[in-house]
Amino acid sequence: MHIADGVLPLSVSLAGYALTATGVGYSLRRLDSADLPKIAVVTSSFFVASLIHLPLGPTSVHLLLPGIVGALLGPAALLSIAIGLFLQSLLFQFGGLTALGANSLMMGVPALLAGFVFQRIRGRTRTSNALAGAVVSGGGVLLAGLLLATLLATAGEDFWGVAKLALAAHVPVMLIEGCVGGCTIAFLFRVKPEMLAARSFSGVGKKR
């Protein structure tokens, strides 16, 4: 799920860049230097996840991971995703540099929302955490698909046709990603629960 070079009109690309820059600035302001190693590891996972193709019917799909990135990083998710996508477009030729802003937005907004929602619904038990992780991971993919369709609609594509296509292609991804997200969160909850600790979105709490 990447938008290639030259698909989007110039204004949309620029708007994507502007919004992404704002979001990354917000991420940087909320950044706690003690979180840097965690962000690095999550960014690496996000970066590599798109290489692992699972054969599925006639095509193959790969994990997108916006939900887990958001749940683990909170407000720093957009920074992580922008860096990951930038390196993906440089090294893997996924998407293009001109569409980088729009691509970051497409993955970053679901990640931020996922992080926000996850902290609200995760509860205190392992089961509820795992369920919240699964819901947030699946919902992240769904939202990313919707955003993709919206962005493509600005390029003049038939909105509902593309949206249906993107969502149909990502239904299996949503299911797989929900499982992966639930398992990951459950594992982390048992092994290293502090990794799931809330990161303040407002910036009142954690800033030193």
Binding site: S33, L36, P37, I39, A40, T43, S44, L87, L91
Partner: protein
């Protein structure tokens, strides 16, 4: 009458002679695949030549088909190879992870220095 008699009789032995000499030739020719000495056989074994030619053409056709099939296969392999060359592999993934860790390592270094400086000043 006297003139026409030898004319009628003589070609028959000549034809037989020619045939005995030339009939083994096409068999050898077919193996050599050379059609340069066609004129003598054309004269002698006019009835045999079309079939021989057809066999040759069929053989060439067969070869052509075989070769084009192989060529198609090679082209397909080439396309697959090109696609694989475009596809990122372990090397790119490792490079990316290195970039990310290096970037965040530098950020951590800068953050730590800044914190040291501010705590040292305070």
């Amino acid at each position: 009458m006297l003139r026409r008699l030898p004319y009628k009789v003589v070609p028959l032995p000549m034809l037989i002679l020619l045939l005995t000499v030339l009939v083994p030739l096409p068999a050898a020719q077919a193996e050599e695949e050379s059609s340069s000495s066609a004129p003598p056989t054309q004269m002698a074994a006019a009835g045999e030549q079309p079939g021989d030619c057809q066999a040759l053409v069929a053989q060439i056709d067969e070869q052509n088909r075989h070769l084009s099939q192989e060529l198609r296969q090679i082209k397909r392999e080439l396309a697959a190879l090109n696609q694989n060359l475009d596809k990122p592999g372990t090397k790119e993934a490792m490079a990316g992870i290195g970039y990310i860790l290096g970037l965040f390592g530098t950020a951590a270094l800068v953050a730590a220095r800044r914190r040291d400086r501010t705590s040292g000043a305070a």
